[in-house]
């Protein structure tokens, strides 16, 4: 980015609404009020150039979360752009619907039919896989099991919803782990630069080439199986630990483009420590791409979890995830196809929506990042 050569910082009206003012005293080298130069913008006008949206001056400042900054129009603009993207809105609606269903569904089913995800009926005549919407006599219509039952007579809908809880949880928590690692790593490398950056990024390059799924499989096979809950925690850690690489690259790139701006110089001149500059000043400004990429990491982690569960290494009974449900379904695919179709379709729909939402967010927040 070209440096602004004029000694005067733009007048206050350009950014009177930005929360930068709320950040308290910070000094640039000239003792002028803080803040990088901002081109003037009229109201809610969409940025004519995408690079003005993120990575330059008019992003949020340190230490504030999106909710507490009504004045920042980056997020409002992004929101408007997101709403204009029909596929992204579709994705958002479906994702919200599935999250709500997964949270409130199981108790509702329990209240209505008495079935939980692991309820095996006492009556041996009922421990059988019934097609969707049929009563146990196999012919007449009934709402008891809208998606049928599995081979032990357990309600498929309850199992799919319960499986969704686990699948989504693995996706979100593992993504969170990957954000923690990736952001810390990438921001450190980007800010320190030079030899440190070279070495750190070379390590990332090296890790990229490793077929890490093999190591995850070994890890799960050898350390898992002590208790189902432990296995799930192992999944969080293992999947998070291997999916931070791209995040680190993205954050590094952002930080590199931000670190020579005045507000960083000001912080440094003010004697702020390096870790604090990285995490309070640089990372918050790189948040847009992080959110976008995190949205895209969730489906990929969920897919990996399903893959591992499908191999019998992931989530284990009595817990179920969409992957392990699909794996159970495949055993009986010729006779009871609904056992595979429903969990499979639910999962595909969720991933589909998450991917569209992620794509839409990327286009809204950071149109520069278009790839894949």
């Amino acid at each position: 980015m070209s440096e602004d050569r004029t000694p005067q910082v733009p007048t206050e009206e350009g950014r009177s609404q930005t929360p930068r003012d709320a950040r308290g005293p910070a000094l640039t080298t000239r003792g002028t009020p803080p803040g990088p130069p901002i081109r003037r913008r009229e109201g809610d006008e969409i940025h004519p150039f995408p690079e003005m949206a993120v990575g330059e001056g008019d992003v949020r400042t340190a230490g504030e979360s999106p909710e507490v900054m009504p004045g920042s129009s980056l997020w409002r603009d992004a929101w408007k752009r997101l709403l204009r993207n029909k596929l992204a809105v579709f994705g958002m609606v479906v994702v919200c619907f599935i999250i709500v269903a997964v949270i409130i569904g199981p108790p509702i089913i329990k209240a209505l039919t008495g079935y939980e995800y692991d309820t095996i009926p006492n009556d041996p005549a009922l421990t059988n896989s019934f097609p969707p919407l049929t009563a146990p006599d196999g012919k007449s219509f009934s709402w008891t099991h809208p998606l049928g039952t599995d081979s032990a007579g357990r309600d498929m809908l309850a199992r799919i919803l319960q499986g969704g809880r686990i699948s989504l949880m693995v996706g979100i928590i593992a993504t969170f782990v990957s954000i923690l690692i990736g952001v810390t790593y990438g921001a450190t490398a980007g800010y320190l630069g030079g030899k440190v950056d070279d070495v750190m990024m070379r390590i990332v390059d090296v890790l990229y080439a490793i077929p890490y799924m093999m190591i995850v499989i070994v890890l799960l096979a050898f350390f898992g199986g002590r208790s189902p809950l432990q296995q799930i925690f192992l999944l969080f850690a293992a999947l998070g630990a291997v999916s931070w690489l791209t995040m680190a690259r993205i954050v590094r790139g952002q930080v590199m483009s931000l670190k020579n701006q005045e507000f960083v110089m000001a912080a440094r001149a003010g004697g702020v420590s390096t870790p604090k500059i990285i995490f309070r000043h640089l990372v918050p400004n790189a948040l847009g791409p992080v959110i976008v990429y995190a949205t895209l990491t969730i489906p990929s982690v969920m897919l990996q979890e399903a893959f591992l569960s499908f191999l019998g290494l992931g989530v284990q009974a009595p817990y179920a995830s969409w992957g392990s449900l699909a794996q159970e379904g495949i055993q009986n695919i010729a006779v009871f196809p609904w056992q595979l179709v429903f969990p499979g379709v639910t999962m595909a729909l969720t991933l589909f929506s998450l991917n569209f939402l992620g794509d839409g967010l990327r286009d809204a927040l950071d149109p520069q990042m278009r790839k894949f």
């Binding site: 990229y208 490793i210 093999m214 096979a221 010729a334 999962m347 595909a348 991933l351």
Partner: protein, 306 residues
């Protein structure tokens, strides 16, 4: 160029050692081993086995044995499979997996590049939206759902294609596994091609090509594709790593005697030498392949200098 290759090879060797050491360390740290299974061995037998495989040796001797086996590329015997050495297992299973992977990737390239290019030529057309939606579906539909669904439709309902089993090459048995495996790559390649081509088609040299009167076909095939496919080329590296996990699933669904199936079984059996052998072998293969991709990249894109 040569110095680049040498430098990369110098990095590659320690990387293989790191991957294998990591795997070995994980196996070592885990409680229990192959011999602590359900079946209790007589004490004397177990003692002999322990002596033979050096299981009571200090860790550095065991580690030394593993490293030696990698450097000499002789992985010894599996703990589970009787009549074959690990090298023989690798040689028998590798062609199956490699064939599946190769066919799937070629199919993905053909379909993905075609639709990606068509979509890029008419952005925001119906074809563009349709192919990108299908591509997104391909990315979102796990292959272990897609595979059985294909079996359900084409084998169990229509009786067109055999549902599983390996029957050599060529055979109809390969159709469903290859399609299942290639779906994800098709999708990724189509999306990569589209975005790459969109960028290239806007560039000056394409305008020049059009201005000097080339036909649209010549412009696209001879000029644009070369630049537009660069992202696809660089995707080939990560794709290989993906392909390995993909083949594991596909081999399991379609009962193919490939490397991935053996890898999972080896893990479930705690067959340490076989795990180490496969991990070492695949790491070497992936790293060499990545190197080849990087070299190829330099040839395709003359702007890249090593």
């Amino acid at each position: 160029m040569l110095s680049f290759i040498i430098r990369r090879l110098l990095v590659t060797v320690p990387m293989v050692l790191v991957v294998v050491s990591l795997t070995w360390g994980l196996i070592r740290l885990a409680p229990g081993n192959f011999y602590t299974g359900e079946k209790k061995l007589p004490a004397a037998v177990e003692k002999n086995i322990r002596a033979k495989y050096c299981l009571d040796c200090p860790w550095y001797q065991q580690y030394g044995r593993v490293m030696k086996s990698i450097l000499t590329l002789d992985f010894g015997h599996s703990l589970r499979y009787e009549n074959e050495t690990i090298n023989e297992i690798l040689m028998r299973t590798l062609p199956v997996s490699a064939l599946l992977g190769l066919l799937a990737y070629l199919l993905a390239l053909a379909v993905g590049v075609t639709f990606g290019t068509l979509a890029a030529l008419k952005p925001n057309s119906k074809l563009d939206y349709a192919s990108m939606a299908v591509a997104m579906l391909g990315i979102s539909l796990p292959n272990f759902v897609l595979g059985p669904l294909l079996v359900l439709v084409f084998s169990l309902s229509l009786y067109w294609l055999p549902p599983a089993r390996w029957a050599g090459f060529p055979s109809w048995n390969l159709v469903l596994p290859v399609i299942t495996l290639s779906a994800v790559y098709m999708a990724y390649i189509a999306r990569l091609t589209r975005s790459g081509m969109l960028e290239v088609l806007r560039s000056d040299y394409i305008r020049t090509a059009r201005a000097k009167g080339l036909t649209e076909k010549e412009v696209v095939v001879r000029h644009a594709l070369r630049g537009g496919l660069l992202p696809v080329v660089s995707f080939t590296g990560p794709a290989l790593a993906f392909l390995i996990t993909g083949t594991v699933v596909v081999e399991r669904i379609f009962a193919m005697p490939g490397l991935g199936n053996y890898f999972i079984n080896a893990n479930l059996n705690r067959d340490e030498p076989l795990i180490i052998g496969i991990v070492a072998f695949i790491s070497i293969a992936v790293l060499i392949f990545n190197l080849l991709v990087d070299i190829a990249y330099g040839f395709i894109d003359p702007r890249i200098r090593y």
